[in-house]
Structures are given as structure tokens and as C-alpha cells.
């Protein structure tokens, strides 16, 4: 299902955090959100899964306005992977992934074969099936991120939102998580910091600055030396990579 964000604004108190943002994400594509710290990426993701209420504007999933959906109905369609959330509860990997079935279960309906199948498939797709019995506290950062993604897949969403899923991970795990996401085949919006990774894995990009979209389009249209200078305040040299054919950014120090 596609996501469309139309003239959306959001403020905390008097501080405007998202200001008149419009964007459209095509079904099945990976859409990257870029921008400096505090540019509104996380807030925009939270607005799309209605963890925050928009001050004005409309967000649609396909034809449905998200404000018309119940919390549970929304959770059956949109899954959200937050930045590095953890727990003190002694949960196993499987316990965490099982949480993803929460919106699909009624008050009295018991755990069914369909739920087990969804959990098993999510564990397999993220390569965590062998670790299913392991305690959360014993996992590394990359493994925890995989489990969060598995939990979100068990939710069987048509759209997946990820807030800096590669934060604090080593480069192998960053590549690993992003290639996993790009192969899921569901509509994804990913907030990212690394411009080169965005160029490698995203189908479309939008750049936020002070809550407004200042550039959007295909990676090669968006990732220009001029944009990087204007938005991030960094001089850069951009060229097509001879290795993977995508844009590659090298930073230039004065």
C-alpha cells in the first residue's frame, strides 16, 4: 500500500517541528528520510504511525486517512521500529517477536497456528530462528535490531517505518540490516544518517531541514554537492561508484 503525506505540520508547544511536509511513497519501495539531527525525521515517522497527532494536514495509507482508523486497525497495517529501544524484562527472542501478533488477537482469542506461523516466518526472514530461545539481554546491538525487525514483520504490516535502524551498529551490521530491509518487498520509510548507505539501498529520498522538505526524488537527483553543502554544511564530492553504480559521496576537508 502507498503512503501519502499531505501538507502535514506538527509542533511541540510553540516549537514547529514538522512544517507543511508533503511526500508520496510508492508501494513496495524503500523511501529514505535524510536530514541533520533535529530536522524532524523521527517526528515525521511518529506522525505517520500516529504516535503523535498532526497539527494540520492529512496522512493516508492507500485511500484511508489514518486518523479514521482505530489504533489496532492501524497497527495491523503499519509497523514501527524505534531507535534502539530495550527492556529490563527477561524476554526471549521469541517472546519479543510474539508481541508483533498483539494487534491481530482479540480479547478472548487464544494463540493460534496462524500466529505461530507468522512468528516462525519472521524469525526465519531475519535469520534469528536459531536464536529464538535466547534472552534479549544476551543479544548484541545488531541482533536486537534484527529482533525488532522480526517483531515488526510478525505484525504482518503493509508498511514498515524504521527510525535510524543502523544507529550504533558496526559497518557489517549496518549493511546487513539495510540489505535485509531492501529485500522485504514491503513499503518502507527509513530515517538514515549515512548518505552513502541511503544512496545504495533507497529507491527514493527526501531531505528534511528544520521540519521542511528541501529536496526529494531519486537518490542521484537528491544527493548533489550543492544540497549537501546547503543542508549539512559540508563540502562533498559526488560521483557514480564504479563498484555498485550508485552515487558515492566523498567529504572534502578544507
Amino acid at each position: 500500500m502507498s503512503i501519502s503525506v499531505d501538507e502535514v505540520s506538527f509542533a511541540a508547544g510553540d516549537t514547529v517541528i514538522v512544517n507543511g511536509v508533503s511526500l508520496t511513497v510508492q508501494r513496495g519501495k524503500v523511501f529514505g528520510l535524510l536530514g541533520p539531527n533535529g530536522s524532524g525525521k523521527s517526528s515525521l515517522l511518529r506522525l505517520i504511525c500516529r504516535l503523535r497527532k498532526v497539527r494540520s494536514g492529512v496522512i493516508r495509507l492507500g485511500d484511508d486517512d489514518i486518523s479514521s482508523l482505530s489504533r489496532a486497525a492501524l497497527a495491523r497495517r503499519v509497523a514501527f521500529v524505534e531507535q534502539q529501544t530495550t527492556t529490563d524484562t527477561q524476554l526471549t527472542v521469541r517472546d519479543v517477536v510474539r508481541l508483533g501478533r498483539t494487534p491481530h488477537r482479540g480479547l478472548l482469542s487464544s494463540w493460534g497456528a496462524g500466529d505461530d506461523a507468522a512468528v516462525d516466518e519472521a524469525l526465519s526472514r531475519t535469520g534469528m530462528r536459531e536464536r529464538a530461545g535466547q534472552l534479549w539481554q544476551t543479544l548484541s546491538g545488531g541482533e536486537r535490531q534484527r529482533v525488532h525487525i522480526a517483531r515488526s514483520l510478525a505484525q504482518a504490516p503493509s508498511e514498515l517505518l524504521l527510525d535510524e535502524p543502523t544507529n550504533h551498529l558496526d559497518i557489517q551490521h549496518q549493511l546487513d540490516i539495510l540489505s535485509l530491509i531492501s529485500k522485504l518487498g514491503i513499503t518502507c520509510i527509513v530515517a538514515l544518517h549515512d548518505l552513502n548507505l541511503a544512496a545504495m539501498f533507497c529507491d527514493r529520498l527526501a531531505v528534511l531541514q528544520k521540519g521542511e522538505v528541501v529536496a526529494s526524488g531519486a537518490p542521484e537527483e537528491v544527493l548533489t554537492e550543492d544540497m549537501i553543502g546547503r543542508v549539512f554544511g559540508v563540502r562533498a564530492h559526488v560521483q557514480k561508484s564504479a563498484v555498485h553504480g550508485r552515487h558515492h559521496i566523498q567529504y572534502v576537508m578544507d
Binding site: R46, C49, R50, L51, R71, A72, A73, L74, A75, R76, V78, A79, F80, E82, T85, T86, T87, D88, T89, Q90, L91, D95, V96, L99, G100, T102, P103, R105, L107, L135, Q137, T138, Q155
Partner: protein
């Protein structure tokens, strides 16, 4: 060891064993005391009242069993269940292992309310001690909730606001006691502040048992929501939980359970903190298993503590809060130590 990986039969066996143990503890609580009454006589006395049988029992034994000890044991069991359930709910909602009713200042507020009625005579005769305590508990809960909402509402903030609220109400209680109470009143209040089951009668049973049962049913209806809080409120909301509604219902239920317990038997510490952790250690963190284990464990623990409080020093009854803490604190230390070994 842990039964978290085992099947339903292990859980069923554990549940039945816990129910039997609770029944046994209540029978013991009724039999043991300054006048020892055989368990058979106890059963006959109960049967005389419940089923209208005509077993030959002295009227004194009949009176002690029915009017004094059975009501006391039932209130102890329901108070234990209510306090432990409240602890388990608060620990899940606030994502803080230290959360329990006392942390939110509810019991401190109840004490202040009771003291206002007892010493200052606010509405004396109309309200009574229990109603005063109940009103105090609700005011404390609202105040702490209001402060916490103003301060941002995160789990840690609520705990800090609770600590501030407790200090404020404890100071108010001490102020009233030291400036207005005579020696006898002060002694009575001290005993009550440490928790006491003496003076508990059947009308208390009719209040505490239904509240504990209602609390249990409402909490069980929210087990999936409670599980979903493991990674915080935003994670719960993104799993389709109506976070605000669940918080209001469960915080409200917790306040009602704690306020009713404190208004009947005073402040009893450590039950709300220790029992949920012990239960988690036994059956794992899933609330579908944890809440029944917590409620039963709390009931058994409290009835046991009441027995100990009556027999440990001959001819004297210790405040039950002293017993729960004396046994609870070392038990808690052992749990912490073993859990650390596991992780």
C-alpha cells in the same frame, strides 16, 4: 526451577497446588492462635455457619473461628492479592522494577487521611477512619498523577513524583501526630501505620474480597496490553494498544485496590514489591501467567505473615507490616542474587 518453558499441565498443577496451599494456610490461620483450635473443629464451625449444620462446638470456639479468625484470614488473603497485583501492574506500566503502591505515595496519603479523621476529627462519625484513609489515598494518587503529567509523564518522573508525594504526606502525618496527638493516640497510630489486622471483621471482608476479585479480572483482561508495554509506551501504541485508556483503567484499579487495603489494615510494605518479582522468577514475565501467580502468591504470603505475627512472640501480636518486611527484605535479596546469576 522455572516453569516458563513447560506446558499447560505444569501450570495447571502449579495453580491447583497454590490454591490448595492457600486453603491450607487459611485453615492454619484460623486454627493457630492463643487459643489453639483443631482444624476439624474449625471446619465444623465454618460448616455450621455456611451450611446450617449442627456440630457440637463451644460457643466460644464458634465465635473465635467465625467472627474473629476467618474474617481476619480472608482479609489478609485479599489484601495480599490486591497489593501484589498492584505492584505487578505498576512495574509493567511504569517499566520500573522498583514500582509498587507505596512508591506512588498512595499509602502515605491514606495515612494522612486516617490521621486527619482520628486526631483532628475531620468529619468524625460521618466518615470513620477507613473512609478518611480512602479519601487520603485517592487525593495522593491524583496529586502524584497530576504532578507527573506536568513533569512529562515518563516512568521515572512518576516514581520521583511519588517519592516527593510520599515525603510530603509522611511529613503532614508526623506534623499532625506530634502537634495534636496524646500519647495513647500516637501509639495507636504508630501501630496502624505499620499495618495491623486486628479489628478486622466481616464487613471488611465484604469490601476487600470483591475489590481483589474485580481487580484481578480487570487486570487479566489487559494481559496483552501489559506484555506490550515491555518496550515502552510508544512501542505499545505501535502494537495497537490504546495506551491512554489502558493507563487510566489500570492506574485507577491500582489506586482503588491499594486505597481499600490501606484503609482497612494500614500500611503493609514489601508485599507489592517482592511478590511480583518472586512470581516472575517462577513463571516468567508473561502477564497471562504472572498475574495469577502474583495474586495467589500475595494471598499466601500475607496469610502466612499474619500467622507469624501472632505466634512469633508469645502473648503479643506484632504489626504485620514488620513481619512482611522482616521476611520480605532478605527474600528479595536472595531473588536479586539468583536472578543475577541467571542472566
Amino acid at each position: 526451577m522455572s516453569v516458563r518453558q513447560q506446558g499447560w499441565w505444569a501450570l495447571a498443577a502449579l495453580t491447583i497446588a497454590a490454591l490448595l496451599l492457600l486453603g491450607l494456610m487459611i485453615s492454619l490461620a484460623v486454627s493457630i492462635g492463643e487459643i489453639a483450635i483443631p482444624v476439624a473443629t474449625t471446619a465444623e464451625a465454618v460448616s455450621n455457619r455456611l451450611f446450617g449444620t449442627n456440630f457440637e462446638i463451644s460457643r466460644i470456639h464458634q465465635g473465635i473461628v467465625w467472627d474473629y479468625r476467618l474474617s481476619r484470614a480472608l482479609v489478609a488473603a485479599s489484601a495480599g492479592a490486591s497489593l501484589s497485583l498492584s505492584g505487578a501492574i505498576l512495574q509493567a506500566l511504569l517499566r520500573n522494577p522498583l514500582a509498587e503502591p507505596y512508591v506512588l505515595g498512595i499509602s502515605a496519603g491514606a495515612s494522612t487521611g486516617a490521621v486527619c479523621v482520628m486526631i483532628l476529627g475531620f468529619g468524625y462519625g460521618i466518615l470513620g477512619l477507613s473512609s478518611g484513609a480512602f479519601i487520603g489515598a485517592v487525593i495522593a494518587f491524583l496529586l502524584v498523577g497530576f504532578l507527573a503529567t506536568g513533569a512529562g509523564g515518563s516512568g521515572e518522573r512518576i516514581i520521583l513524583c511519588g517519592v516527593a508525594g510520599s515525603q510530603l504526606f509522611n511529613a503532614l502525618t508526623s506534623y499532625i501526630v506530634t502537634t495534636s496527638a496524646n500519647a495513647e493516640q500516637a501509639r495507636g497510630i504508630l501501630f496502624w501505620l505499620l499495618g495491623s489486622l486486628s479489628g478486622v471483621r466481616w464487613p471488611d471482608v465484604y469490601l476487600s474480597v470483591p475489590i481483589a476479585l474485580a481487580g484481578f479480572i480487570i487486570c487479566m483482561a489487559h494481559v496483552r496490553a501489559l506484555d506490550a508495554f515491555a518496550f515502552g509506551t510508544d512501542a505499545a501504541a505501535s502494537l495497537g494498544i490504546a495506551v491512554r485508556r489502558v493507563q487510566i483503567v489500570l492506574f485507577g484499579m491500582t489506586a482503588a485496590m491499594t486505597a481499600s487495603v490501606v484503609s482497612m489494615v494500614g500500611s503493609i510494605g514489601f508485599v507489592g514489591l517482592v511478590i511480583p518479582h518472586a512470581a516472575r522468577f517462577l513463571v516468567g514475565p508473561g502477564h497471562g501467567r504472572l498475574l495469577p501467580a502474583t495474586a495467589l502468591g500475595g494471598a499466601i504470603y500475607m496469610v502466612g505473615a499474619d500467622i507469624v505475627s501472632r505466634v512469633i512472640i508469645p502473648q503479643q501480636i506484632l504489626p504485620i507490616g514488620v513481619v512482611t518486611a522482616l521476611f520480605g527484605a532478605p527474600a528479595f535479596a536472595i531473588i536479586l542474587y539468583r536472578v543475577r546469576g541467571n542472566a
